[in-house]
């Protein structure tokens, strides 16, 4: 008997690569791309290209450094 699998969640919409890259000060925007434990969503979930995902990662890490986001949620 095969195990039932949930359908994958759709990517988080609302941004294309022409927009400004995510910034560490823009917390409300960053939180859209984090789960409840403040972990960064995968590229599959965010729908970002490689460069935008790297910019998101960098922004989240900068926000963590200055205490705006937790390291572990």
């Amino acid at each position: 008997m095969s195990r039932d699998r949930r359908a994958p969640l759709p990517p988080i919409a609302g941004r294309n690569c022409d927009d400004a890259w995510p910034e560490y000060k823009d917390l409300e925007n960053l939180k859209r791309f984090l789960n409840g434990s403040a972990q960064i969503y995968s590229r599959k979930r965010t729908g970002f290209c490689s460069q935008c995902q790297k910019a998101l990662k960098q922004a989240v890490k900068r926000a963590r450094h200055i205490g705006l986001l937790p390291f572990v949620g």
């Binding site: 000060k25 900068r62 450094h65 200055i66 205490g67 705006l68 986001l69 390291f71």
Partner: protein
Amino acid sequence: MYECMFLLDNTVVREDWKKAKAVISDAVLKHGGNVVTSRRWDERRLAYPIKNKNRATFVLCHLDMAGSKLPELRRELELSERILRYLILAVDEIPATEHELSTAENADGFAVPPPPSDDVVEPEPVINTPESLEDILAEGEMDDRPRGRRSERASAEVAP
């Protein structure tokens, strides 16, 4: 050109806002830099305690200084007790809004709201009190006693 975010200790901010800003500008000027813009970004609760503080005042600055002097500035900021943490990033240009906000803050009549007072992390209560030497010695004597159930020991003593 560098964009810097400083986390200032709220006790310093409560004393005097201008003195608190001077902590940053003095450190930058000491190492041959120039503070182009400086403004209070926010005062908020930290996601985790930094230097035993739960809250901090965030100051956003734009500096103009030589990159060769940056390690010295970083060292000074690390040693400072009034600056909880800092983030220095290289930027191409200063956003136009930053100039306006900075001049608006430096104008007369601008008052910074005092930060709330719940910024100190209370130490966790100590559950295990340290044992005195006598207690440890008494425990050692206990270990020398014959082990086993009391009834067995009693019967062993009585039997012969």
